[in-house]
Amino acid sequence: MKLSTIAFRNISRNRRRSLLSITAIAVASLSITGLFSLVEGMRIELATNIQSYSTGEVRIRHADVDRFEILNPVHLTVQDASAVMTILEGVEGVAATVPRVEFPGAIFLDDDTVRAVGVGIDLERERALHDIDARLVAGRFAEAGQNEAVVGTRLARELDLGIGERFTILTTTALRGSNAMTFEIVGLIDLPVPALAATWFLVPIDRAQHLMRMPDQVSTVLTRLESRTPVGSAGAVAAAAEAALHATGHETLSARAWNDISETYSLIETFSIIYDIIALFFFVLGSSVVINTTMMVVYERTREIGTLSAMGMGGGQLIKLFFLEGLYLSVAGAAVGVALGVVLSLVLGVTGINMGDAISIEMEIGTVIHPVVNLRSTVVVFFYSVAVASIAAVLPARKAARISPVEALRAV
């Protein structure tokens, strides 16, 4: 009889115990598939949000802004913004440039002061970076030349203002003086990042430049690359962009790739390693049931092992037999677990998981996470769980292989 047939027969001998093993592995696989899908969803959303709202794929701004960030250095601008954008558009790999003027300030209400961040945008260029139109939930976008604003939904709630109403923001200008401007709210925008929805309002870039005393100057130029590039390749374009800017007399500017800038993204990348370790822990936990089952089998079937040994089955074949039993159990468990995990992740990918307050407002990520199934969360998890559980079965099998036939036949 073939070993595989014997292994199958042995599994079906005690169906309840085998089912327990399969369930343990399935639960571990399901959990890890879900966890990896969730992390992948967070990673993709984080990357999209960073690229769309914070940095583009390569961000150009004054090199000293990072150093003096705490002092609100709005005067450290990108001078000759039109020329800078033309230079950047000539850099290989750059598909679009998006200028922005950012101005943090205070909105004075009757009894309260609300801190907010105005962002001057060029709507057409902004559309090249992200689907801004899909985010507009009411009204329309502000028109160039008009003191109009599109306000983040959360900020509008905090200000208790709606479309048609006005607010005045007081800010520090690029001349390091102060200025204030009144804007009429013409639209509401639902930005996916809580921190942005709570503080941002968008105004035409020309009005922001006037308010900030920044003629042909911007705070940052964001770029979109020709194809959404994987992590790492944006760095090469950033280096080329910075070299091109420095060669044309814009030495004060620095260009950095998005994944170099975001601390949150680096954190998620670091967490991925931690999640791998958590996955291993889960599998070892699930595999302990397999080890336990196999050990029980070895003890229960000691006489049978003795008979098989007396009939000439060698130690290696015995190990192989128990390994096959473990393999079949783990393949079944991993297949069920990964399949359920994929189905669950796909469903949650559509509905989303509302993480509520678990997501810090400081993180560049929305409160609703959409898990994403990928190769790592399916194929890798499947083989990972099969490998760990199968190897776990070998450990007690080695003990079975060492029992002498005479000793085994004497066992009751």
């Binding site: 004075f108 006005r166 005045t168 007081l170 390091r176 200025n179 204030a180």
Partner: protein, 243 residues
């Protein structure tokens, strides 16, 4: 024992005299520095770690309570700060609404300088707000001065404690230190030059340092001053902000 009684009896009137002197010193200083009405043209030279910049202004004042400052330099042209007895309003030509500052916002820096809105336009009737005492005499930049300690009577002042050095001859401030309630030094003011107009002497160039800010100082310069003049009607009204 008898000798001790004599010394104590001698000290009591002396202490009383010192307290009266401190009030008299402050009164005479304010007579010089707080005018029935005034119109001044001047500059704020703001130095910080990013460099130096100058904002020019015209100010109007009436007594200790009312002041209007209009900025005339290119970056801030047309911006105005109005202080009435209890309120501070900001007017910006690009804003359709006036901004009324209150609470903590009053302590915000004006134009990024070492001067807060409260400092620039604050109530200057010191004796209304502070108990004063003479703390000694000292020479500041070759000028003999009285050193006067001020303790706030209430909580409605920016600086609960101050020390002011008042010129013994001209009765003009030569130096000031402003402290928090727990004695932490917040600001230093050093008078570099004085000006005499219509028999009144007051600081015309002083350097203010917010010690909580690093590498920062603001020079406050008065280039031209007219005192006790007639001012346009309603100059200290909200309507005047929209001239």
């Amino acid at each position: 024992m008898k000798a001790l009684s004599i010394i104590l009896l001698a000290l009591i009137p002396a202490t009383t005299l010192m307290a009266q002197s401190a009030e008299e010193i402050i009164t005479r200083m304010e007579r010089n520095q707080v005018h029935d009405t005034s119109r001044m043209e001047g500059r704020l030279i703001i130095n910080d770690r990013f460099g130096s910049r100058t904002s020019s202004f015209i100010s109007y004042a009436r007594g200790a309570d009312d002041a209007l400052i209009e900025f005339t330099s290119a970056g801030e042209r047309g911006q105005k700060v109005l202080r009435t007895r209890d309120e501070v309003y900001l007017f910006y030509p690009d804003a359709a609404e006036l901004i009324r500052l209150q609470g903590a916002a009053l302590r915000d820096s004006m134009l990024g300088s070492d001067v807060s809105y409260e400092d620039m336009t604050g109530n200057r009737a010191l004796l209304d707000n502070y108990r004063v005492s003479l703390d000694g005499e000292e020479t500041i930049n070759d000028h003999p001065t009285f050193r006067v300690k001020l303790e706030a009577r209430g909580r409605n002042v920016a600086y609960p404690r101050q020390t002011i050095w008042v010129d013994r001859e001209l009765f003009v401030m030569r130096r000031a230190e402003q402290f928090s309630a727990n004695g932490r030094l917040l600001k230093e003011v050093e008078v570099k030059e004085t000006m005499e107009v219509s028999g009144l002497t007051f600081p015309s160039r002083m350097v203010i340092r917010d010690v909580l800010k690093r590498n920062s100082s603001t020079e406050f310069v008065i280039d031209k001053a007219e005192v006790n003049i007639s001012l346009p009607r309603n100059v200290f009204s909200l309507e005047s902000l929209r001239w």
